[in-house]
Structure formats: C-alpha cells, structure tokens
C-alpha cells in the first residue's frame, strides 16, 4: 500500500522537530509530552515490578528468608504506591490519551499545551518525593495508609510518600481538565459527539473522575499529614478522631480511581476490536454511554471496601446493591465487543490477542468482583489473597494488557516502524500464560484463608504460593521481551506507512510518525467513525 509519496521526509515529523534535550524538556507538543510520560512511567513500571519480584521471591517459602518483616512490608507498600499512582493512573491517558485525543478529534494540540507540559513536571516532582521516601528508608503502611497506623504508629517515611502522592494528584487534575476542555472546544468541523471515537468517549469519562475524585485524595492526605505531624485529632480515637473516617475518605477517591485505571483500557479495547474485526463497533451509543455510567455509579460504591470495617449494616447493603449495578455497564461493553467480531474480517495479530486477552481476564476480574460485592462472601474473602487476585485481574490482566495492546497498535503511528509480528504474538501469549499462573492460584489461597500482606504464612499454603511465584518469573520475562523488540524496531523495523492496519480514524489518515502540527489543513468530518470495510481513498 505504501507509495513513495507516503514516506515522509525525516524533517517533517514531530520526532525530528528538534534533536536537543531542550527541545524535549520545553516542548508543548502533545505528542512529545506523551513520549516524555511514556519514558517516565516505563521506568516506574520496572521499579514497581522489581518490588513485586521481591515479594514473590520471599513467598516461595512459608518462613521469612529474603527480607525482614519490615522489609517485606515496605516492599509491598512501594510496589502498590508506584504501580497505582506512578504507573496505572497516568498510564494510558497521559501517553496514548495525550498523543491521540487531539488527532482523533482533528485538532492541532490539547487546549492548554503549556499546562500539559506543567502536568508532566508536577508528575515527575511527585514521583521524586515517592522515590525519596523509598531511598530514605521506605514506607510500611500499605498503599491504603489506614489510620491510626499510618498517622501515629508507623516509624517510616509516610509524610514524604504522602506528599509525593499529593503532588502527583495535581498532575491528574490538570490532565483531566485539559482533556475535558479539549474535547468540548477543539473538535474539528462536523465532529459531533456521536462521531467521536469511543477512545475519546472513555477518556472523557476518565477526565471527569480525575477532576472530581482527585481533590478528595489530596484533602485526605493533607488531613493524614496534619494528624501525623501536628497531632491534630482526626482519625485516632485517643485524640478524639474516628479511624473509619479515613477509610471513607480514602475509598471515596480510590474506588473511582479503579475506574480511572480501567476506563482508558476500555477506550483502547474498543479501538482494537473495531480495527482488527474490520467491523463497525456494535452498539456504539451503548458503549459510549456505558463509560459515563461507570464514571457516575463508580462514585457511589466506595463502602464495599468496608463491609467488615464496622460501618452500618444497612449502609453495607446499599453499597452491595450499587456494586452489583456498576457491573452492568462493564458487561455491556464486553457483550458489544464480542458482537463486533461477529461477521467481521478478523485479522489475528498481536493487538487483537491483547484485546481478547483483556476481555477474558477482565471478565474473570469482573465476576470475582461480584463475589466481593456479595455481603456474606465478602466477609470471608475480603483482606485475603482472593482480593489480591481479583484486582490484579482488573489492573494487570486488564489495564496493563490494554496498555500493551495499545503499544502494539499505535507503535507504528508513534514511531513510523513496525514491531516484529511473530515476537509480538509470542510475547502476548506468554504474558497471558504467566499471568494466569501467577494470579489464578491466589483465588484459591484467599478462599482457603491466607490474608493479604503476610510476610510469613501457614505451611499448608506453600504449594499454591510456589505456583504463583513461578508464574511471576514467566510474567517478568514476558514483559521484558517487548521492551527489547520495540527498541530493536526503532532502527530495524519495517517502515509502517500511514495506515498499516487498514484502520478507520483520523490518526490513520496522516503520516507516521505524524507531522509536528498533526494536520496540514483542519479536517472536515462528514461521516460516523468505524466505517468498515474501508474503501480506498477514504
């Protein structure tokens, strides 16, 4: 398909607009900022991954042999803090969202390009505080910072770590704000709301949560620091506080935060499924509105983290019902994606494998979420490895798998080069196998009664723990393979051309990599998205 005219002279792309470090660090190009974020969060992904490796190595045996009790507690805290706030929350929105939203709506950049760069600097500053707390001696409270342990009992670097998270929160808020304004104001002529890609719809829903929920986290962390540093009684009953207040505030942010992590993944999967089925997405409006429904109902389910915490029985019943309800819009997406494959022209390539892997693992994560939403079952399995397995199915099986799917799908667009397809398929299968081996045994461990955050455990749990730890080795290798072949492809990969997947969408109408200002002329939109099969020339 690629002709000489489509191979763009190097000087014309966003990557070649400047070669000096300064041209990257002071850029206001949304595509370059996306690359800055991608580099940063990749680093954090491997730091968080190293902590995970330490945890799983320690759990090969029931007794403690690699780490001290405190060392173990610090390892799982750092794993979660880095993975949640420095990888998962920024992952897809700040990289693919940043890179693609302006292009998908036919704009030259986000609404506030300099604010976008500032968001990255704020994120890096917050990340440095978290890394400082790690290097200085670590934090041992768990990522949930439950009070009064985190305020008056822990002898670790809670304030530095909480300050770091507080700071990264502002990066989230500014990114969310930027997306909302951009999607409202910068759509190209003819780009009505129902001509938006589903990627944009889901990011719009994500941005709403970022703006509304993150301030509550900032407030909670500030109160936590106030009690820890100034002794103001907020959470500790000896000072007249209430320890459950922390849990309400924390989960009011942190449950919607789960949707901050998963809605952008759903955004990606909608694109992958449509492109690789070469089919119009089934039930476009239901998929679009389900994102908003998830964002809305997601604010009303935080109490399902507190069924055994001592909250009112009737409150628990209401939260249980709402948690059943929030599963409906997620199920809608799964059904519609499946229906999109029906009567398509399915191309079985690495991005599609990631999409199918995502759907399978996300469904398992979702239905185990229904077990946790069921009151009497939750009483038994909450705070056990069942919960650990459940949310890793959503966050690793779901969000990380989608991130890798997005990397493979848009890598040719971002770099102009193809990754090696055979390696891509092999890595996707290996990630799936490593994931299942790591996390499936944890469901059984949890139901048997192994609590989470246990440095040592009853010997009857060893066989399942060894399986899980062995899976981690497979998973670690599987995550490193793409790092190698993506790096290789930058130099040796086949030239991609503007539309290697024959996919519909504005980003596939411009050269790869895109020019600095995306479009020579503002595009005029005259039709709905996902018009497959593509006819030549559209």
């Amino acid at each position: 398909m690629s002709t000489a005219a489509e191979i763009i002279a190097p000087s014309a792309t966003y990557l070649t607009a400047g070669y000096r470090l300064r041209s990257w660090l002071l850029t206001t190009d949304h595509k370059r900022i996306a690359i800055l974020y991608m580099t940063t969060i990749t680093l954090f992904f491997f730091i968080g991954g190293a902590a995970a490796a330490l945890i799983r190595l320690e759990l090969f045996t029931p007794q403690g042999d690699l780490l001290t009790d405190d060392g173990y507690n610090k390892a799982f805290t750092m794993h979660a803090v880095v993975m949640v706030w420095l990888f998962l929350i920024p992952s897809i929105p700040t990289t693919f969202g940043n890179f693609l939203i302006p292009i998908m709506i036919g704009a030259k950049d986000l609404a506030f390009p300099r604010l976008n760069l500032l968001s990255w600097y704020i994120f890096v500053l917050g990340g440095l505080f978290v890394l400082y707390s790690l290097v200085a001696g670590g934090v041992d409270t768990g990522w949930t910072f439950y009070t009064p342990y985190s305020t008056l009992f822990s002898n670790s670097y809670v304030v530095a770590c909480a300050t770091g998270i507080f700071i990264t929160g502002f990066s989230s808020i500014l990114t969310g704000l930027n997306f909302i304004v951009t999607i409202h104001k910068l759509r190209a002529p003819g780009m009505g709301w129902f001509r938006l890609r589903l990627f944009v719809w889901s990011h719009y829903a994500t941005a709403i949560i970022l703006v509304l929920a993150t301030p509550v986290l900032a407030l909670s962390l500030a109160l936590n620091i106030a009690e820890r540093v100034l002794g103001i009684g907020i959470f500790d009953p000896r000072l007249g506080g209430d320890p459950l207040l922390w849990q309400h505030l924390f989960w009011f942010y942190s449950h919607p935060a789960v949707y901050i992590m998963i809605l952008p993944s759903m955004a990606v999967i909608s694109e992958l499924v449509a492109a690789f089925a070469q089919n119009r997405i089934f039930g476009y409006r239901f998929v679009a509105f389900s994102s908003l429904a998830i964002a809305g109902i997601g604010f009303l389910v935080w109490g399902h983290h507190m069924f055994v915490a001592g909250q009112s029985m009737y409150a628990s019943m209401a939260f249980s019902f709402l948690s059943f309800l929030v599963a409906v819009p997620s199920a809608v997406k799964v059904y519609n994606w499946t229906a999109t494959l029906y009567k398509g022209q399915v191309m079985i390539k690495a991005p599609l494998l990631y999409a199918i892997g995502f759907i399978g693992l996300f469904v398992v994560g979702g239905i185990t979420g229904l077990f946790l939403a069921s009151l009497a079952i939750d009483v038994h399995v909450t705070d056990t490895y069942f919960v650990i397995a459940h949310f890793h199915y959503i966050m690793v099986g779901g969000a990380v798998t989608a991130y890798f799917g997005a990397l493979h799908f848009w890598w040719p667009k971002m770099t102009g080069r193809m990754y090696p397809e055979g390696w891509g398929i092999a890595a996707a299968l290996l990630i799936f196998l490593g994931f299942m081996l790591t996390f499936f045994p944890q469901f059984v461990l949890g139901y048997l009664g192994m609590p989470r955050r246990y440095h040592t455990y009853d010997p009857q749990f060893q066989v399942l723990n060894v399986l899980s730890s062995a899976g981690t080795l497979v998973l670690a290798a599987a995550y490193l393979i793409p790092l190698v072949y993506f790096a290789w492809s930058l130099r040796y990969g086949r030239i991609a051309g503007p539309n290697p997947w024959a996919a519909d969408g504005l980003e596939w109408t411009i050269p790869s990599p895109p020019p600095e200002h995306n479009f020579d002329e503002t595009p005029v939109i005259t039709r709905d998205p996902y018009q497959y099969p593509l006819r030549d020339g559209t």
Binding site: Y149, M313, V328, Q345, L352, G360, V363, A376, D383, Y447
Partner: protein, 314 residues
Amino acid sequence: MNGAPLWPPAISQYAREADWIVFGFTALLTVLVVPIFAALVWFAIKYRRGSPADRRHRISHSVAIEIAWMAIPFALSLIFFVWAADLFYRLYHPPGGALVIDVVAKQWMWKFQHPGGQREIDELHVPMGEPVELTMISQDVIHSLFLPALRIKQDVLPGRYTSLWFNADRPGEYLLECAEFCGTEHSHMGGRLIVLAPAEYQRWLDRTGTDETLAARGERLFRNYGCSGCHGANSAVRAPSLAGIFGRPVPLSDGSTTIADARYIRDSILMPRSQVVAGFQPIMPSFAGRIPEEDLIALIAYIQSLADSGEARQ
C-alpha cells in the same frame, strides 16, 4: 492442617451456607460468561480475514439485544445479592444467651477473656454446638479477627467495640488470623481456634483455673480505681447509682435517652462529660489513658453483673 488443601473446612451452619452461595453464584456466572469466551474464539476463527463465512445481513446495533443482555444477567445475579445480604443480616443478629468472650487486640497478639475469668493469648477455646459471641476492641491500631473455617471476620477497632458470633459444630483446631495490616509482625499475629465438646470445654475451664471471675475482678477494680468512692453505696458525692442500669434506658441531661450498653459505659468512663445522666452535675474526671482495655471490660462485666443479679445497692 498439613498437605495442600484446595477447600477450607466449614465448621458451622453459617460457613456451609456461605459455601453454597459461592457454589450457586459460580454456577450462574459460569453459565453467563462461558458463552462469551466461546463466542470470542469462535467468531475470531470463523470470521478471520478471507474466510468464506457468510457476512450478509449484519446489524450494527439493536436496542432490544442491549436491554436483554443488561437486564437478564443483572436480574439473575440479584438472587445472590439477596441471599448473601440475608446471611450477612444473620451475622449481625446473635441468638440470645450466647457465651460472651471478650477480645482485646494489640500489636501483635490476641487476648481472650472468658466469663469465668480464664484468660488466654493467641488461642481461643470454645464449646461446640453453643453460640459464642466475641466482643472485641483494640488497644492500638485496627486489627481484624479472621476465622476462615467459620467464613467470618470482623475488624477490631481502637475506641469502639465490635462483635462477631458463631456456632461451631465440629471439634478440632483451626486457623485464627489477623486480616487487617497492623505493622511489623502482622503476619505473626495469629494462633488457633480450638473447638471442644462442651464437657471438654468445661474441663479446660477448670484446668485453666482462675482466682476470680471477670465480674469479680471488675468489682475489685471498681474499688481500686476509686469508682466506688462516688458510685458506692455510702458515698458522700452525688453520683448516679450503677445498680440495675445495664441494658436499660438512661435519661440524659440534654433530654435524650440512651441505652446503658457496653459502649455507653466505656464512653462514660473515658469521656464522662459527653453524655451526663439527667439530674447530675458533670463533675466526674476522665479516666482516658489510665485504664487498660482489659480492665474496662472487667468493669463493664461487673456493672452488667449488678443488673443480671438484680441486686439493689441501697
């Protein structure tokens, strides 16, 4: 407890019913999701690019189909919402006359006090076939008492009593764990639940021995902490009598009424000015920080015994 089991023992009616909810819900969800997995694979293969499959008459949306796959699975899953909520409701409603055992959690041990005054650490002996109610409080951070064989757990909070009840019907030794992260030795904060036949439980009580019952210890503490100086029969200070109040309504100075339960008595000792009895002056000093949780429990047991025995002080 050796080997590598795949399913935990279930030693109460409650535990077995919780398992049945899990079995039933698993069956329903399997029926709902297996077709999705099958369809994903089947469609991907059948409609792979270039295959000769028939692709005519494909629709791209259908409100009827959307409503069907939203409403039917949701309605079916609500059966399990109701069933699980009903079992949960029963967990909040212990039968009358349960054997009450007091639990104090601290970093990093569990302390249990039986009504007869017997005390044990990290081991909990209970009689089989008899409802047992645990009244729990923490001396420091949040802990959580987790008894997997009974499928129950409950967080144990500082500053407030929580409770948990069960009726174990199989003798044996089972896991007892802390499920809420509580610091350095969290994973070591556990022990054994030991379910004994009633006669053996009695023998264990006798063998363990004790100088005094919980209520008797409370009576001694009542004098030692100086409570009797004002609340005693011959006191010159005008303080409300504590005889017979436990479990009864108490009129307060702000015109409201509260029930004199364990929470109220604990709060009245530690924060005496928060709920003053009608007709009395707020002159009692706070004992916050001066009485350990175990002594508070003994004091409450003593005040409860005054009501149970029905004896009048004056």
